[in-house]
Symmetry: C2
Subunit: 363 residues, 2 copies
């Protein structure tokens, strides 16, 4: 189907040209998504010369997509400031569609800095949100856990952390389907007097807020994988380091095991004995299953797929975006922001969101 | 041997009463240390009623120790402010011995906050060091890696980070025996423009300093376990979270494996097949092997053993302390501080260390 811009509305606008293996894995991912979301309509944005033959080869993907031409693409190493000037890039045209109300959200496997910058400038933060935050889902001993911010905001104040908690709560309800997710504030100890003024003040606001019953208090690094809470809230610097350190430690262990299983005959025999269990473990920890970092707090759903993922991984990120579209993620946030506004302003004199959305990554 | 305070000097003063299983594991650990450091002399501080019979039962430990009586002990849940008032506590008397020049360093498995507070107040930071930092050694794919700060300083400026790099360098040379350890500054990306002013300024100073040839630039969370550099420098908040997140992820994986190996008959058979390799992996990741967090930048060696460790773990922490004593750790730091002073002050207007050693954990 070709785009006639007749005012049709789409669930998602898809940047077909972003990512290491675009547009191939994007179209292959849509082929998978077509089975899971047969009624959804997607706006596929990119170079029609490249996309038309791919869609012809993937009739299922073609059936749920409308193609909109965009001649340019934003490379992985392009600075956000340069990306902001490319008005006919696939990512930009996709994001413009969200800003224009033609799509509820956007998904891209492209340049993270460009996605953050364009989304903030074009789609704009929601009323009452000072700083949008990046969130992702990871594995823990007791089910999936949401971690945010992952790097959209290098430095945060108490107000920002409280907003992250509201957004993390809405995200866990929407995507993990939890009715009352527990929330923890990442700190260097679990006692009330630990940490700096910033986390202590955020904890105080959360305790007094409508999220009080769900607020677990401070959690530490090991609580993330232990699954002590469903949502772990922290600033973007710490969250980024925690995410990558956790991934690195899991990878170290996986590499050691690979050596053990492949390094000797008895290792190979043991592998055959354990294959089903090891496959389950591998699947459980599969980065593709956790693909899809989400930029929360904008007037639209914004999902960033890992740049190096495959069709399966892209389809997973698309699932996350669709969950947010279908379960009206934004209404939940708006509701939470309204409730917290009164508490923080009246009792703790934290200034309400001023729309200041500087992005560390855009510098 | 009993303490007559005749002016004898000791390698280390040992807090015999700190930790979950003190004084038993302390004496048992000394028994192990006696084999490794037969010529060292230790000042054992604690309740002589409890210690005398233990020493009688461990003649090897007794042979390297002099007992000094201290009637009080600092419990694990005591606030640092309260601990500072207990002048006859074993930890205090041990730290006093370092301040008085009777011992080069102190080791304790007791209350971390109390150790940090007492060490800073009584032993005092070295000339030129604004903020002492806590460091530890952990496993990576390419050998051991030093991480600091681990929580002694919740917020840090560029000057602090530069000092941490100097201390981390000296520590890696002393304890890991490296001649030119590589150093990385933890950040949310490896590109020069990433992160905040603080890390960018610290990177600039390090590049221009005598550590320039060893300075790798920015590293990310996954670089810690990947072993990209020998020393990873960060603020105490981020370092504490990174350490605990990495440990948590390794534990998650170890727990899953334990379930796989014990959950079925084929798992048990596979375990038998892999036993030697799995034992090596377990030993390699053994927390006892990495026991001994070190408070760097004071006028004495200060080592904190994990509170719940056993005799083996305590002996490992004692090895770390002895490496620092024997290889003259402090002279190396003093040297580094002198070299960096000129650069940072002249070119980047970072104020030199002002002896301000507020401790987040003492609040």
């Amino acid at each position: 189907m070709s785009d006639n811009e007749t005012g049709e509305s789409y669930a998602l606008a898809i940047d077909a040209m972003g990512g290491d293996n675009a547009p191939d894995i994007v179209i292959a991912g849509l082929d998978i998504a077509a089975e899971r979301h047969p009624k959804a309509r997607f706006l596929l944005v990119g170079d029609e010369v490249k996309l038309a033959p791919l869609l012809a080869a993937h009739p299922r993907a073609a059936a749920i997509c409308t193609l909109r031409h965009a001649p340019d693409a934003i490379s992985n190493d392009m600075k956000p400031t340069a990306a902001l000037r490319l008005r006919r890039a696939s990512l930009r045209v996709a994001i413009d569609a969200v800003a224009a109300g033609q799509a509820v959200g956007v998904i891209s496997a492209g340049n993270t800095g460009a996605i953050l910058a364009l989304a903030q400038v074009v789609i704009r933060p929601m009323q009452g949100i000072a700083r949008p935050a990046m969130a992702a889902i990871g594995p823990s001993a007791r089910g999936d856990v949401v971690l945010l911010d992952l790097g959209a905001n290098i430095s945060c104040d108490a107000r920002n952390l409280v907003e992250f908690a509201i957004m993390g709560d809405a995200f866990a309800r929407t995507v993990l389907g939890l009715t009352a997710p527990t929330i923890g504030l990442l700190n260097v100890g679990s006692e009330d007097m630990k940490g700096d003024e910033r986390v202590r003040q955020a904890a105080e606001v959360l305790r007094r807020s409508h999220l009080g019953p769900q607020f677990h208090g401070f959690v530490e690094g090991h609580d993330i994988t232990q699954g002590t809470v469903d949502v772990v809230v922290t600033d973007g610097f710490t969250g980024n380091v925690a995410l990558k350190t956790g991934e690195g430690a899991l990878k170290l262990m996986a590499d050691m095991l690979r050596q053990i299983f492949s390094g000797s005959l008895s290792g190979k025999i043991a592998y055959l004995l354990l294959r089903p269990a090891l496959e389950r473990l591998r699947e459980w920890l599969d980065p593709r299953r956790y693909n899809g970092a989400v930029l929360l707090g904008l007037n639209g759903v914004v999902v960033k797929s890992h740049g190096g993922t495959d069709a399966q991984g892209f389809a997973h990120a698309l699932d996350v975006a669709m969950d947010m579209v279908v379960h009206r993620f934004h209404e939940r946030i708006q509701d939470g922001i309204q409730k917290i506004q009164n508490i923080s302003v009246v009792n703790l004199e934290i200034a309400p969101g001023d729309g200041d959305s500087r992005l560390a990554t855009t510098e």
